[in-house]
Protein backbone atom coordinates (compact mmCIF):
# COMPACT_ATOMS: atom_id res chain seq x y z
CA UNK A 1 0.00 0.00 0.00
CA UNK A 2 1.21 3.54 -0.71
CA UNK A 3 2.69 5.42 2.21
CA UNK A 4 1.05 8.53 0.79
CA UNK A 5 -1.84 8.37 -1.60
CA UNK A 6 -0.25 10.96 -3.90
CA UNK A 7 3.13 9.26 -4.28
CA UNK A 8 3.82 7.97 -7.80
CA UNK A 9 7.23 6.57 -6.88
CA UNK A 10 8.30 5.11 -3.56
CA UNK A 11 11.80 3.76 -3.09
CA UNK A 12 12.82 2.29 0.22
CA UNK A 13 16.30 1.31 1.32
CA UNK A 14 17.54 0.63 -2.22
CA UNK A 15 20.94 -1.03 -2.33
CA UNK A 16 22.72 -1.93 -5.55
CA UNK A 17 26.12 -3.26 -6.57
CA UNK A 18 28.16 -3.34 -9.78
CA UNK A 19 30.31 -6.39 -9.15
CA UNK A 20 31.73 -5.93 -5.66
CA UNK A 21 31.25 -2.16 -5.72
CA UNK A 22 28.30 -0.82 -3.74
CA UNK A 23 26.77 2.01 -5.79
CA UNK A 24 23.56 2.86 -3.95
CA UNK A 25 23.72 2.45 -0.19
CA UNK A 26 20.19 2.40 1.12
CA UNK A 27 18.40 5.09 -0.89
CA UNK A 28 14.89 6.07 0.25
CA UNK A 29 12.93 8.45 -1.93
CA UNK A 30 9.35 9.49 -2.74
CA UNK A 31 8.10 11.36 -5.78
CA UNK A 32 4.70 13.04 -5.46
CA UNK A 33 2.05 13.12 -8.14
CA UNK A 34 2.47 16.10 -10.48
CA UNK A 35 5.80 17.31 -9.13
CA UNK A 36 9.19 17.74 -10.75
CA UNK A 37 11.78 15.95 -8.67
CA UNK A 38 15.36 16.77 -9.60
CA UNK A 39 18.09 14.33 -8.61
CA UNK A 40 21.41 16.11 -8.27
CA UNK A 41 24.89 14.98 -7.40
CA UNK A 42 28.47 14.97 -8.54
CA UNK A 43 30.02 12.45 -10.92
CA UNK A 44 29.92 8.96 -9.45
CA UNK A 45 27.27 9.89 -6.88
CA UNK A 46 24.92 7.20 -8.21
CA UNK A 47 22.27 9.47 -9.74
CA UNK A 48 22.28 7.77 -13.16
CA UNK A 49 22.19 4.35 -11.49
CA UNK A 50 19.23 5.46 -9.38
CA UNK A 51 17.45 6.65 -12.51
CA UNK A 52 18.10 3.32 -14.27
CA UNK A 53 16.56 1.56 -11.25
CA UNK A 54 13.52 3.82 -11.37
CA UNK A 55 13.17 2.90 -15.06
CA UNK A 56 13.45 -0.79 -14.05
CA UNK A 57 16.53 -1.27 -16.25
CA UNK A 58 18.75 -2.60 -13.46
CA UNK A 59 18.51 -5.40 -10.91
CA UNK A 60 18.79 -4.23 -7.33
CA UNK A 61 20.55 -6.01 -4.49
CA UNK A 62 17.88 -5.20 -1.91
CA UNK A 63 15.16 -2.71 -1.07
CA UNK A 64 11.67 -2.10 -2.42
CA UNK A 65 10.36 0.05 -5.26
CA UNK A 66 6.76 0.98 -5.97
CA UNK A 67 5.94 2.70 -9.24
CA UNK A 68 2.37 4.03 -9.61
CA UNK A 69 1.39 1.98 -6.58
CA UNK A 70 2.75 -1.31 -7.93
CA UNK A 71 5.58 -3.20 -6.29
CA UNK A 72 7.79 -3.93 -9.28
CA UNK A 73 9.13 -7.13 -7.70
CA UNK A 74 5.69 -8.71 -7.68
CA UNK A 75 4.46 -7.87 -11.16
CA UNK A 76 3.50 -10.43 -13.76
CA UNK A 77 5.08 -9.96 -17.17
CA UNK A 78 1.86 -8.48 -18.53
CA UNK A 79 1.47 -6.04 -15.59
CA UNK A 80 5.09 -5.01 -16.00
CA UNK A 81 4.48 -4.48 -19.71
CA UNK A 82 1.38 -2.36 -18.94
CA UNK A 83 3.36 -0.34 -16.40
CA UNK A 84 6.01 0.40 -19.02
CA UNK A 85 3.34 2.06 -21.17
CA UNK A 86 2.67 4.59 -18.40
CA UNK A 87 6.31 5.68 -18.26
CA UNK A 88 8.16 7.92 -20.72
CA UNK A 89 11.91 8.39 -20.86
CA UNK A 90 13.99 11.09 -22.53
CA UNK A 91 17.53 9.72 -22.64
CA UNK A 92 20.62 11.89 -22.38
CA UNK A 93 21.68 11.36 -26.01
CA UNK A 94 18.11 11.09 -27.26
CA UNK A 95 18.46 7.37 -28.11
CA UNK A 96 16.51 7.92 -31.33
CA UNK A 97 16.63 5.01 -33.77
CA UNK A 98 18.98 6.17 -36.49
CA UNK A 99 17.41 4.04 -39.21
CA UNK A 100 14.00 5.70 -38.71
CA UNK A 101 12.77 9.22 -39.38
CA UNK A 102 11.78 11.51 -36.51
CA UNK A 103 8.12 10.76 -37.22
CA UNK A 104 8.68 7.00 -37.21
CA UNK A 105 10.61 7.29 -33.95
CA UNK A 106 7.76 9.15 -32.28
CA UNK A 107 5.18 6.82 -33.80
CA UNK A 108 6.88 3.61 -32.65
CA UNK A 109 5.20 3.34 -29.20
CA UNK A 110 1.78 3.99 -30.78
CA UNK A 111 2.46 1.45 -33.51
CA UNK A 112 3.52 -1.17 -30.97
CA UNK A 113 0.92 -0.62 -28.27
CA UNK A 114 -2.25 0.69 -29.90
CA UNK A 115 -4.68 -0.37 -32.62
CA UNK A 116 -4.92 3.16 -34.04
CA UNK A 117 -5.02 3.53 -37.81
CA UNK A 118 -2.11 5.10 -39.65
CA UNK A 119 -3.82 8.47 -40.21
CA UNK A 120 -4.72 8.90 -36.52
CA UNK A 121 -1.18 8.02 -35.51
CA UNK A 122 0.22 10.54 -37.98
CA UNK A 123 -2.06 13.27 -36.57
CA UNK A 124 -0.97 12.37 -33.03
CA UNK A 125 2.73 12.50 -33.82
CA UNK A 126 2.30 15.88 -35.53
CA UNK A 127 0.56 17.16 -32.38
CA UNK A 128 3.36 15.89 -30.13
CA UNK A 129 6.00 17.34 -32.42
CA UNK A 130 4.18 20.69 -32.28
CA UNK A 131 4.28 20.53 -28.46
CA UNK A 132 8.08 20.23 -28.56
CA UNK A 133 8.29 22.82 -31.37
CA UNK A 134 9.44 20.36 -34.00
CA UNK A 135 6.43 20.64 -36.30
CA UNK A 136 7.36 19.86 -39.90
CA UNK A 137 10.47 17.87 -39.02
CA UNK A 138 8.84 14.43 -39.01
CA UNK A 139 10.46 13.30 -42.28
CA UNK A 140 14.03 14.07 -41.24
CA UNK A 141 16.46 11.45 -39.95
CA UNK A 142 18.03 11.98 -36.48
CA UNK A 143 21.41 12.56 -38.16
CA UNK A 144 19.93 15.67 -39.81
CA UNK A 145 18.96 17.28 -36.47
CA UNK A 146 20.94 19.48 -34.07
CA UNK A 147 21.63 18.37 -30.48
CA UNK A 148 18.75 20.41 -29.07
CA UNK A 149 16.35 19.12 -31.74
CA UNK A 150 17.33 15.51 -31.00
CA UNK A 151 16.47 16.07 -27.33
CA UNK A 152 13.14 17.62 -28.30
CA UNK A 153 12.37 14.69 -30.58
CA UNK A 154 13.24 12.34 -27.70
CA UNK A 155 10.77 14.27 -25.52
CA UNK A 156 8.11 13.92 -28.22
CA UNK A 157 8.62 10.15 -28.30
CA UNK A 158 8.63 9.97 -24.50
CA UNK A 159 5.26 11.74 -24.20
CA UNK A 160 3.47 10.24 -27.19
CA UNK A 161 1.62 7.69 -25.02
CA UNK A 162 0.69 10.43 -22.49
CA UNK A 163 2.67 8.79 -19.68
CA UNK A 164 1.99 9.45 -16.01
CA UNK A 165 5.70 9.62 -15.20
CA UNK A 166 8.44 11.14 -17.33
CA UNK A 167 12.12 10.44 -16.65
CA UNK A 168 14.71 12.82 -18.09
CA UNK A 169 18.41 12.02 -18.02
CA UNK A 170 20.59 15.15 -18.16
CA UNK A 171 18.23 17.09 -20.46
CA UNK A 172 20.45 20.18 -20.71
CA UNK A 173 23.81 18.42 -20.96
CA UNK A 174 25.89 19.55 -23.93
CA UNK A 175 23.47 22.32 -24.98
CA UNK A 176 24.06 26.05 -25.15
CA UNK A 177 22.33 28.12 -22.41
CA UNK A 178 19.52 29.36 -24.68
CA UNK A 179 18.56 25.88 -25.91
CA UNK A 180 18.97 24.45 -22.39
CA UNK A 181 16.64 27.12 -21.00
CA UNK A 182 14.07 26.35 -23.71
CA UNK A 183 14.18 22.66 -22.73
CA UNK A 184 13.62 23.64 -19.08
CA UNK A 185 10.54 25.58 -20.20
CA UNK A 186 9.37 22.51 -22.09
CA UNK A 187 9.68 20.36 -18.95
CA UNK A 188 7.64 22.90 -16.97
CA UNK A 189 5.06 22.96 -19.75
CA UNK A 190 4.74 19.16 -19.69
CA UNK A 191 4.13 19.20 -15.94
CA UNK A 192 1.57 21.99 -16.11
CA UNK A 193 -0.23 21.10 -19.32
CA UNK A 194 -0.12 17.30 -19.14
CA UNK A 195 -0.05 16.84 -15.33
CA UNK A 196 2.95 14.55 -15.51
CA UNK A 197 5.19 13.64 -12.62
CA UNK A 198 8.71 14.26 -13.83
CA UNK A 199 12.02 12.98 -12.50
CA UNK A 200 15.05 14.82 -13.86
CA UNK A 201 18.65 13.79 -13.31
CA UNK A 202 21.02 16.70 -13.81
CA UNK A 203 24.14 18.34 -12.53
CA UNK A 204 23.26 21.72 -14.07
CA UNK A 205 22.47 23.86 -11.02
CA UNK A 206 20.76 26.66 -12.93
CA UNK A 207 18.46 24.25 -14.68
CA UNK A 208 17.72 22.33 -11.47
CA UNK A 209 16.77 25.48 -9.55
CA UNK A 210 14.55 26.65 -12.39
CA UNK A 211 12.43 23.53 -12.79
CA UNK A 212 12.51 21.64 -9.50
CA UNK A 213 9.62 21.39 -7.06
CA UNK A 214 11.91 19.32 -4.86
CA UNK A 215 15.56 18.34 -5.13
CA UNK A 216 17.24 15.13 -3.98
CA UNK A 217 20.97 15.53 -3.43
CA UNK A 218 22.94 12.30 -3.83
CA UNK A 219 26.52 11.80 -2.72
CA UNK A 220 28.51 8.55 -2.96
CA UNK A 221 25.37 6.44 -3.04
CA UNK A 222 23.71 8.18 -0.07
CA UNK A 223 20.96 10.77 -0.07
CA UNK A 224 22.34 13.89 1.58
CA UNK A 225 19.05 15.74 1.62
CA UNK A 226 15.65 16.09 -0.01
CA UNK A 227 14.05 19.50 -0.05
CA UNK A 228 12.67 22.44 -1.96
CA UNK A 229 14.96 24.69 -3.98
CA UNK A 230 15.23 27.16 -1.09
CA UNK A 231 15.91 24.43 1.46
CA UNK A 232 18.73 23.05 -0.69
CA UNK A 233 20.18 26.51 -1.35
CA UNK A 234 20.16 27.31 2.37
CA UNK A 235 21.40 23.92 3.51
CA UNK A 236 24.08 23.92 6.18
CA UNK A 237 25.29 20.47 5.12
CA UNK A 238 28.94 20.85 4.15
CA UNK A 239 28.80 18.44 1.19
CA UNK A 240 25.66 20.07 -0.20
CA UNK A 241 27.37 23.46 0.14
CA UNK A 242 30.48 22.09 -1.64
CA UNK A 243 28.36 20.72 -4.47
CA UNK A 244 26.42 23.95 -4.95
CA UNK A 245 29.54 26.09 -4.79
CA UNK A 246 31.69 23.74 -6.89
CA UNK A 247 34.27 23.25 -4.12
CA UNK A 248 36.68 20.46 -5.08
CA UNK A 249 36.62 17.45 -2.80
CA UNK A 250 39.51 17.37 -0.32
CA UNK A 251 41.05 13.96 -0.72
CA UNK A 252 43.05 12.65 2.22
CA UNK A 253 44.16 9.43 0.65
CA UNK A 254 46.21 6.86 2.47
CA UNK A 255 49.53 6.45 0.59
CA UNK A 256 49.65 2.64 1.02
CA UNK A 257 46.10 2.32 -0.29
CA UNK A 258 47.01 4.54 -3.25
CA UNK A 259 50.06 2.41 -4.13
CA UNK A 260 48.06 -0.78 -3.71
CA UNK A 261 45.51 0.55 -6.19
CA UNK A 262 48.24 1.44 -8.67
CA UNK A 263 50.19 -1.83 -8.48
CA UNK A 264 47.31 -4.19 -7.81
CA UNK A 265 49.24 -5.98 -5.06
CA UNK A 266 49.32 -5.58 -1.33
CA UNK A 267 52.05 -3.08 -0.61
CA UNK A 268 54.37 -3.83 2.29
CA UNK A 269 57.27 -1.72 3.44
CA UNK A 270 59.90 -4.11 2.01
CA UNK A 271 58.33 -3.96 -1.49
CA UNK A 272 59.13 -0.26 -1.70
CA UNK A 273 62.71 0.74 -2.26
Amino acid sequence: MNKHANNVIEVEDLVTHYGDREILKGVTLDVHDGEIMVIMGGSGSGKSTLLRHLMALETKTSGTMRILGQDIDNLTQRDFFDLRKKIGVAFQGGALFSSMTVGENVMLPLYEHTDLDQMTMEIMIRMKLEVVELGGFEDLKPSELSGGMIKRAAFARAIVMDPKILFCDEPSAGLDPVVASALDDLILLLRDAMQMSIVVVTHELESAFKIADRITVLDKGHILMVGTVDEVKNSTNERVYNLLNRVPEDENMDMDEYLQRLTGVEVKEETIL
Partner: protein, 271 residues
Protein backbone atom coordinates in the same frame (compact mmCIF):
# COMPACT_ATOMS: atom_id res chain seq x y z
CA UNK B 1 61.90 -2.02 -6.45
CA UNK B 2 58.69 -4.02 -6.78
CA UNK B 3 58.78 -7.08 -9.06
CA UNK B 4 55.86 -9.48 -9.57
CA UNK B 5 56.63 -12.96 -8.22
CA UNK B 6 56.33 -16.06 -10.53
CA UNK B 7 53.51 -17.33 -8.30
CA UNK B 8 51.55 -14.12 -8.88
CA UNK B 9 52.10 -14.34 -12.64
CA UNK B 10 50.91 -17.98 -12.68
CA UNK B 11 47.83 -17.15 -10.60
CA UNK B 12 47.00 -14.28 -12.96
CA UNK B 13 47.43 -16.59 -15.98
CA UNK B 14 45.09 -19.17 -14.39
CA UNK B 15 42.58 -16.42 -13.59
CA UNK B 16 42.67 -15.24 -17.19
CA UNK B 17 42.15 -18.76 -18.57
CA UNK B 18 39.31 -19.33 -16.10
CA UNK B 19 37.64 -16.04 -16.95
CA UNK B 20 37.89 -16.67 -20.70
CA UNK B 21 36.43 -20.18 -20.30
CA UNK B 22 33.54 -18.95 -18.17
CA UNK B 23 32.83 -16.12 -20.59
CA UNK B 24 32.86 -18.59 -23.54
CA UNK B 25 30.39 -20.89 -21.77
CA UNK B 26 28.28 -17.84 -20.88
CA UNK B 27 28.16 -16.79 -24.54
CA UNK B 28 27.05 -20.25 -25.65
CA UNK B 29 24.37 -20.19 -22.94
CA UNK B 30 23.34 -16.70 -24.02
CA UNK B 31 23.00 -17.95 -27.61
CA UNK B 32 20.80 -20.85 -26.47
CA UNK B 33 18.58 -18.54 -24.43
CA UNK B 34 18.30 -16.21 -27.43
CA UNK B 35 17.04 -19.01 -29.68
CA UNK B 36 14.54 -20.07 -26.99
CA UNK B 37 13.38 -16.50 -26.47
CA UNK B 38 13.00 -16.01 -30.23
CA UNK B 39 10.70 -19.05 -30.47
CA UNK B 40 8.77 -17.77 -27.45
CA UNK B 41 8.08 -14.39 -29.10
CA UNK B 42 7.30 -15.99 -32.43
CA UNK B 43 4.61 -18.18 -30.86
CA UNK B 44 3.50 -16.23 -27.80
CA UNK B 45 3.97 -12.66 -29.15
CA UNK B 46 0.63 -12.41 -31.02
CA UNK B 47 -1.24 -13.49 -27.86
CA UNK B 48 0.13 -10.52 -25.88
CA UNK B 49 -0.38 -8.17 -28.83
CA UNK B 50 3.36 -8.09 -29.50
CA UNK B 51 3.62 -9.94 -32.81
CA UNK B 52 6.80 -10.12 -34.81
CA UNK B 53 6.25 -7.57 -37.60
CA UNK B 54 6.18 -9.00 -41.13
CA UNK B 55 7.47 -5.69 -42.48
CA UNK B 56 10.62 -5.99 -40.37
CA UNK B 57 11.15 -9.57 -41.59
CA UNK B 58 10.77 -8.56 -45.26
CA UNK B 59 13.13 -5.65 -44.75
CA UNK B 60 15.75 -8.00 -43.31
CA UNK B 61 15.11 -10.55 -46.08
CA UNK B 62 15.87 -7.87 -48.64
CA UNK B 63 19.04 -6.91 -46.81
CA UNK B 64 20.29 -10.45 -46.14
CA UNK B 65 19.12 -12.10 -49.35
CA UNK B 66 18.29 -9.91 -52.31
CA UNK B 67 21.09 -7.37 -51.85
CA UNK B 68 23.63 -10.18 -51.46
CA UNK B 69 22.72 -11.89 -54.74
CA UNK B 70 25.24 -10.14 -57.05
CA UNK B 71 28.31 -10.91 -54.90
CA UNK B 72 27.08 -14.45 -54.26
CA UNK B 73 26.51 -15.01 -57.99
CA UNK B 74 30.05 -13.80 -58.71
CA UNK B 75 31.67 -16.00 -56.07
CA UNK B 76 29.67 -19.15 -56.69
CA UNK B 77 30.17 -18.82 -60.46
CA UNK B 78 33.92 -18.54 -59.86
CA UNK B 79 33.84 -21.61 -57.62
CA UNK B 80 31.82 -23.57 -60.23
CA UNK B 81 34.26 -22.66 -62.99
CA UNK B 82 37.23 -23.41 -60.72
CA UNK B 83 35.84 -26.87 -59.92
CA UNK B 84 35.39 -27.55 -63.63
CA UNK B 85 38.95 -26.42 -64.41
CA UNK B 86 40.50 -28.51 -61.62
CA UNK B 87 38.21 -31.49 -62.25
CA UNK B 88 39.03 -31.64 -65.98
CA UNK B 89 42.74 -31.18 -65.25
CA UNK B 90 42.78 -34.05 -62.72
CA UNK B 91 40.58 -36.46 -64.67
CA UNK B 92 42.52 -35.88 -67.88
CA UNK B 93 45.37 -37.86 -66.28
CA UNK B 94 43.09 -40.91 -66.33
CA UNK B 95 41.43 -40.01 -69.60
CA UNK B 96 38.12 -39.66 -67.78
CA UNK B 97 37.46 -35.93 -68.16
CA UNK B 98 33.96 -36.56 -69.52
CA UNK B 99 33.04 -37.77 -65.99
CA UNK B 100 33.80 -34.36 -64.52
CA UNK B 101 30.08 -33.62 -64.13
CA UNK B 102 29.82 -36.05 -61.17
CA UNK B 103 32.46 -34.23 -59.14
CA UNK B 104 31.12 -30.79 -60.01
CA UNK B 105 27.51 -31.62 -59.19
CA UNK B 106 28.28 -33.18 -55.81
CA UNK B 107 30.85 -30.55 -54.85
CA UNK B 108 28.69 -27.54 -55.73
CA UNK B 109 25.40 -28.77 -54.26
CA UNK B 110 26.64 -30.64 -51.19
CA UNK B 111 29.65 -28.53 -50.23
CA UNK B 112 30.75 -25.37 -51.94
CA UNK B 113 27.53 -23.44 -52.48
CA UNK B 114 26.35 -23.69 -48.82
CA UNK B 115 29.86 -23.05 -47.49
CA UNK B 116 30.65 -20.02 -49.65
CA UNK B 117 27.21 -18.53 -49.07
CA UNK B 118 27.54 -19.11 -45.30
CA UNK B 119 30.91 -17.36 -45.29
CA UNK B 120 29.65 -14.42 -47.39
CA UNK B 121 26.56 -13.95 -45.23
CA UNK B 122 28.66 -14.18 -42.04
CA UNK B 123 30.95 -11.44 -43.36
CA UNK B 124 28.18 -9.31 -44.78
CA UNK B 125 25.03 -9.70 -42.68
CA UNK B 126 26.38 -11.28 -39.45
CA UNK B 127 28.87 -8.45 -39.01
CA UNK B 128 26.20 -5.85 -39.88
CA UNK B 129 23.89 -7.38 -37.26
CA UNK B 130 26.61 -7.28 -34.58
CA UNK B 131 27.49 -3.68 -35.47
CA UNK B 132 23.86 -2.59 -35.52
CA UNK B 133 23.00 -4.12 -32.16
CA UNK B 134 26.29 -2.95 -30.63
CA UNK B 135 25.73 0.63 -31.81
CA UNK B 136 22.15 0.56 -30.57
CA UNK B 137 23.38 -0.65 -27.20
CA UNK B 138 25.96 2.09 -26.71
CA UNK B 139 23.48 4.73 -27.94
CA UNK B 140 20.95 3.51 -25.34
CA UNK B 141 18.52 2.55 -28.14
CA UNK B 142 18.13 -0.93 -26.63
CA UNK B 143 17.28 0.69 -23.27
CA UNK B 144 14.82 2.94 -25.10
CA UNK B 145 13.07 -0.12 -26.54
CA UNK B 146 12.87 -1.73 -23.09
CA UNK B 147 11.37 1.32 -21.40
CA UNK B 148 8.86 1.63 -24.25
CA UNK B 149 7.71 -1.89 -23.43
CA UNK B 150 9.10 -3.24 -26.71
CA UNK B 151 11.04 -6.45 -26.24
CA UNK B 152 14.39 -6.08 -28.08
CA UNK B 153 14.55 -9.79 -28.94
CA UNK B 154 11.15 -9.64 -30.62
CA UNK B 155 11.86 -6.31 -32.30
CA UNK B 156 15.45 -6.82 -33.45
CA UNK B 157 16.53 -10.43 -33.18
CA UNK B 158 13.55 -12.46 -34.41
CA UNK B 159 13.18 -10.63 -37.76
CA UNK B 160 16.90 -11.08 -38.47
CA UNK B 161 16.85 -14.73 -37.41
CA UNK B 162 13.80 -15.57 -39.54
CA UNK B 163 15.17 -13.63 -42.50
CA UNK B 164 18.45 -15.56 -42.30
CA UNK B 165 16.74 -18.92 -41.87
CA UNK B 166 14.61 -18.27 -44.98
CA UNK B 167 17.12 -16.46 -47.17
CA UNK B 168 20.33 -18.45 -46.64
CA UNK B 169 18.77 -21.72 -47.94
CA UNK B 170 17.13 -19.73 -50.77
CA UNK B 171 20.51 -18.24 -51.65
CA UNK B 172 21.96 -21.75 -51.55
CA UNK B 173 19.46 -22.89 -54.20
CA UNK B 174 20.35 -19.80 -56.22
CA UNK B 175 24.06 -20.54 -55.68
CA UNK B 176 23.60 -24.18 -56.77
CA UNK B 177 22.08 -23.04 -60.07
CA UNK B 178 24.64 -20.29 -60.74
CA UNK B 179 27.57 -22.55 -59.80
CA UNK B 180 26.37 -25.36 -62.05
CA UNK B 181 25.66 -23.01 -64.95
CA UNK B 182 29.17 -21.50 -64.68
CA UNK B 183 30.72 -24.96 -64.50
CA UNK B 184 28.56 -26.12 -67.43
CA UNK B 185 29.73 -23.18 -69.53
CA UNK B 186 33.38 -24.03 -68.89
CA UNK B 187 32.83 -27.73 -69.57
CA UNK B 188 31.05 -26.78 -72.78
CA UNK B 189 33.93 -24.55 -73.84
CA UNK B 190 36.69 -27.03 -72.89
CA UNK B 191 35.20 -30.45 -73.64
CA UNK B 192 32.48 -29.50 -76.10
CA UNK B 193 29.76 -31.13 -73.94
CA UNK B 194 26.51 -29.25 -74.54
CA UNK B 195 24.72 -27.50 -71.65
CA UNK B 196 21.73 -29.78 -72.19
CA UNK B 197 23.91 -32.90 -71.88
CA UNK B 198 25.69 -31.43 -68.87
CA UNK B 199 22.44 -30.71 -67.01
CA UNK B 200 21.02 -34.06 -68.08
CA UNK B 201 23.97 -35.71 -66.30
CA UNK B 202 23.59 -33.41 -63.27
CA UNK B 203 19.91 -34.31 -62.88
CA UNK B 204 20.73 -38.00 -63.27
CA UNK B 205 23.47 -37.88 -60.63
CA UNK B 206 21.92 -35.71 -57.95
CA UNK B 207 19.23 -37.01 -55.60
CA UNK B 208 16.89 -35.10 -53.32
CA UNK B 209 19.16 -36.19 -50.44
CA UNK B 210 22.10 -34.32 -51.98
CA UNK B 211 20.09 -31.13 -52.32
CA UNK B 212 18.67 -31.48 -48.80
CA UNK B 213 22.20 -32.07 -47.49
CA UNK B 214 23.24 -28.62 -48.73
CA UNK B 215 20.01 -26.94 -47.65
CA UNK B 216 20.07 -28.41 -44.12
CA UNK B 217 23.62 -27.19 -43.68
CA UNK B 218 22.71 -23.71 -44.87
CA UNK B 219 19.78 -23.67 -42.42
CA UNK B 220 22.20 -24.45 -39.55
CA UNK B 221 24.67 -21.83 -40.82
CA UNK B 222 21.89 -19.23 -40.85
CA UNK B 223 21.08 -19.87 -37.18
CA UNK B 224 24.77 -19.76 -36.24
CA UNK B 225 25.39 -16.47 -38.09
CA UNK B 226 22.35 -14.75 -36.54
CA UNK B 227 22.98 -15.95 -32.99
CA UNK B 228 26.72 -15.19 -33.06
CA UNK B 229 26.03 -11.72 -34.50
CA UNK B 230 23.46 -10.90 -31.84
CA UNK B 231 25.49 -12.29 -28.91
CA UNK B 232 28.53 -10.27 -29.96
CA UNK B 233 26.49 -7.13 -30.59
CA UNK B 234 24.73 -7.42 -27.24
CA UNK B 235 28.08 -7.87 -25.49
CA UNK B 236 29.54 -4.57 -26.74
CA UNK B 237 31.16 -2.49 -24.02
CA UNK B 238 32.57 1.01 -24.41
CA UNK B 239 32.26 3.07 -27.56
CA UNK B 240 33.07 2.73 -31.25
CA UNK B 241 36.13 0.66 -30.43
CA UNK B 242 33.90 -1.93 -28.72
CA UNK B 243 31.62 -2.08 -31.77
CA UNK B 244 34.62 -2.65 -34.06
CA UNK B 245 35.93 -5.47 -31.88
CA UNK B 246 32.52 -7.12 -31.62
CA UNK B 247 32.06 -6.96 -35.39
CA UNK B 248 35.43 -8.56 -36.08
CA UNK B 249 34.83 -11.17 -33.39
CA UNK B 250 31.44 -11.97 -34.84
CA UNK B 251 32.86 -12.62 -38.33
CA UNK B 252 35.73 -14.77 -37.06
CA UNK B 253 33.48 -16.80 -34.74
CA UNK B 254 30.76 -17.26 -37.36
CA UNK B 255 33.18 -18.43 -40.07
CA UNK B 256 34.92 -20.79 -37.60
CA UNK B 257 31.56 -22.17 -36.47
CA UNK B 258 30.42 -22.64 -40.08
CA UNK B 259 33.57 -24.52 -41.13
CA UNK B 260 33.52 -26.77 -38.04
CA UNK B 261 29.78 -27.45 -38.37
CA UNK B 262 30.35 -28.27 -42.04
CA UNK B 263 33.00 -30.82 -41.12
CA UNK B 264 30.86 -32.45 -38.40
CA UNK B 265 27.81 -32.45 -40.67
CA UNK B 266 29.76 -34.04 -43.56
CA UNK B 267 31.05 -36.74 -41.20
CA UNK B 268 27.62 -37.51 -39.71
CA UNK B 269 25.78 -37.36 -43.07
CA UNK B 270 28.16 -39.77 -44.80
CA UNK B 271 28.01 -42.50 -42.10
Amino acid sequence: MYEPSPQNAFIKFCERVGRTTVSGVEEIGHGGVLIGESFYWLIYGPRVKQPVRLGAIFQQMMEVGIHAMPIIALLVASIGAMLAIQGIHTLRIFGAESRVTIGIAFSVVREFAPLIIGIVIAGRSGSALAARIGTMKINQEIDALKVMGVNPVRFLVVPSLIAMVIMVPMLTIFGDIVGLVAAGLYVNADLGISMAAFFHDVVDILTIDDIMHGLTKSFLFAILIAVIGVVNGAGVEGGADGVGKATTRSVVQAISAIVMTDMVFAFVATR
